[in-house]
Amino acid sequence: MSRTLPAAGSLARCRALGVAVLLGVALTSGVGASSAAAQNVLRVANSGEPDSLDPHQVSGNWEDRIVGDMFMGLTTEAADGTVIPGAAESWTISDDGLTYTFTLRDHTWSDGTPVTADDFVFGFRRILDPATAAEYAYLLYPIKNAEAINNGSQTDPEALGARAVDPKTLEITLEQPTSYFIELLTHYTSFPIPKHKVEELGDDWVKPGNIVGNGAYTVVEWVPNSQVRMAKNENFWDAENVAIDEVVYYPTEERNTGTKQFRAGEVDVQYDFASEQIDFLKENLPEATHISPGLAAYYYVFNTKEPPFDDVRVREALAMAVERDAITDKILRTGEIPAYNLVPPNTGTYGEPPQVEWADVPYQERVEQAKALLAEAGFGPDNPLKFTLRYNTSENHKKIAIAIAAMWKQLGVQAELFNTEVKVHYNDLQSHDFQVARAGWVADYNDPENFLTLLRTSTGPMNYGQYSNEEYDRLMAESDATTDEEARNELMRQAEALMLTELPLIPIYHYVDKNLVSPRVQGWVDNTKNKHWTRWLSLAE
């Protein structure tokens, strides 16, 4: 082998070669879309990358933002989150509360094809078809035979309680009166699906360029893990009132990066900024910092079938010893609301929710009472209560767990912290392999039933703690069948009050939505559902 091969070359040549490589690679880069603030382009730091553009395959609120800009259900939300007519102009409900008849407005898909009642029926059938394997199909179980079709016991799709009377009229029949049904129809599980596109293209119908929607925007480009770019749909029925021409969603999972992008003016909106930024933001960007109550609860759940957590005294003691104000005011500091019950305030028409009876007892007194309860249950300095507290990986979950474990230490309780990744965490929760664990629930629809159903005996794996109370189940079942709204709320309040005497879970706080919104964005209204469809927004000059 010759020793003069340029493998090592001269230092100068190496350097030159290196620079040439650099330049070459750099210059062959595409021009691509820059993120400079062009006129009328809304740039959003979304909190995650969508799994899909198909309304039947998504399940996260970050996906909801994209899909919800593209499609419109029978009903939709106004800028302030209230339910307004969407694809349906008007509707009537039969006296027994079982039949809903919708009159669709005249409008088209983004490719000009008219939207008909058939598209809705097609959508419902598709999401409930077992072959689609849609995770969220169960939301539509209030519809007659939906559950039977979805679990395969009913094989005739025609049996579904949804039919197109004529192209402009859709009739939906329910299993039983469901007072939140109109609200439910805003959810992406009820979006219409362009039958003509699916029949023409099969699974490829969702690809950008093929996909059509009846919403204000259509997807123009999707670079995975980089951006989803949407342009105004000129065929949208209300297009003249849509101000923003283009909206780009960046999947900023790293939330501190999203906040930096906001500060540098690279995005106009950031959804769900990291709570540790709050002090900085309140001081430097107060007008942009939007905090508003949300529809989600954070709690610790007990495995009620495993001693000593089958003893209500132990559960109550641990629940009483949590100082919720300290957690919301000192650890999180983003305005979360201390919770003394499960269902968040302002959920539906629930009104004043019940609370645990010791909610107003001063903290130190509660600690003493808790110690007494534990002693009664047989725990004390010579027999300390020891168990494992589980949480899934997240900075906030960790901080809260550390804080609560320290609070429990006053009772002589030794809680060992155990942090696992999300999959393992929920896997073990659903197979009831835990003692005490952190859990959270974000409402699918704006109704207390969505929270309270977690504790029914029939709920199965999602009733993580295996709580089972016949009276609770009875009250909930009765509320399901009640059409009068106030009577129904009252029944649910009774059920929750009952549950709170048994404390199968420790309510800790109710979530707030934390968003950064640039002052140049107009039309943004904070609402509990955290829905801010781009069609209501505009950009100031």
Partner: protein, 307 residues
């Protein structure tokens, strides 16, 4: 040498097969599945989903189906990213990782070797310590500190560069991630170069070259450096594979649509097919790069004979 090359390429096929097999079964032993999440699926739906992806077939059948698919270029659908197949995800992501990683490693090699050589030539002097201290910043400041720091100063405070994003790969989006990626590598390469340069500078053949009166620069570069690069090149084989398949920290912090995040995310999501896809990409790179390194040994040090 051609014979060696051919033999190595041939043995890479069974090697790849072993990798695929071990990885495949290794993944399935882990608890949790692709569809486990906060909301438990009603059992019927979960059954449907498993059936839809053929996940309820016996494991060996799934393995065999997978192998058949791979041979034909079908890496399967992603369980998490429903609209894309694994092949599409890898094809769209790999160029991004490659671009950032390629520039970073090229930069690191040039700067690292230069710094290491300078330090070796002035062993134990002030310059040596200064140069090495600078080189070491890449390791002593972890990348998850360096990256936010750089974005804060250059992106937010000064506004010279975008904080994050890809912009199709335009140069201004590359600068910060490349720097953050290159700095630790500069440290590794500089230290390895320095260490083995010092050894070589005192070696007999170098003394001979000096005694012959050759210019110092030629002595250094032609003679000492070539031999000294052996450990550097050994290190660079796997390091290049790792850099080119992206760094999950860098890609997440800078919002780069590469495949680096898949190495972590896909595992945490139990997205089996995507994990397998990344394993195959990485395996091919490792096998090829280690082969290149082994061939380079022969060029750098003539006493090394590859049989």
């Amino acid at each position: 040498m051609i014979g060696y090359l051919v033999r190595r390429l041939m043995i890479s096929v069974p090697t790849l097969l072993i990798i695929i097999t071990v990885a495949f079964f290794m993944m399935r032993v882990a608890p949790g599945g692709p569809f486990d999440q906060e909301r438990a699926l009603p059992p019927e739906i979960e059954r449907n989903m498993l059936a839809a992806y053929n996940l309820d077939a016996p494991l060996v059948v799934q393995y065999w189906d997978y192998l058949k698919g791979v041979v034909q270029g079908d890496f399967g659908p992603s369980f998490k990213y429903q609209d894309f197949s694994v092949a599409e995800l890898l094809l769209s992501g790999f160029p991004a990782s490659l671009r950032v990683g390629g520039i970073a490693i090229a930069l690191a090699v040039v700067i690292g070797i230069t710094l290491g050589t300078i330090a070796a030539l002035r062993q134990n002097s002030g310059i040596d310590y200064a140069v090495m201290a600078t080189a070491m910043t890449g390791i002593t400041i972890p990348n998850f500190v360096m990256a936010p720091l750089l974005t804060l100063v250059l992106g937010v405070y000064l506004g010279w560069l975008p904080v994050a994003g890809w912009g199709g790969g335009a140069p201004q989006f590359l600068i910060l991630p490349v720097i953050a990626l290159a700095l630790p590598q500069i440290a590794y390469i500089a230290r390895l170069t320095r260490g083995s340069m010092i050894e070589n500078l005192n070696a007999n053949f170098v003394r001979t070259a000096r005694a012959k009166g050759l210019r110092e620069r030629i002595v250094v570069v032609r003679h000492a450096l070539k031999g000294a690069l052996l450990p550097v090149v050994s290190y660079l084989g796997p390091a290049t594979a790792q850099i080119m398949t992206g760094s999950v920290v860098i890609e997440t912090i800078f919002g780069i649509p590469g495949i680096g995040r898949y190495f972590v995310q896909a595992a945490l999501n139990r997205d089996y097919t995507l994990v397998m896809g990344t394993v195959i990409v990485y395996a091919v790179l490792i096998i090829l790069l280690n082969l290149v390194v082994d061939l380079l040994y022969g060029l750098l040090d003539p006493k090394v004979k590859q049989r």
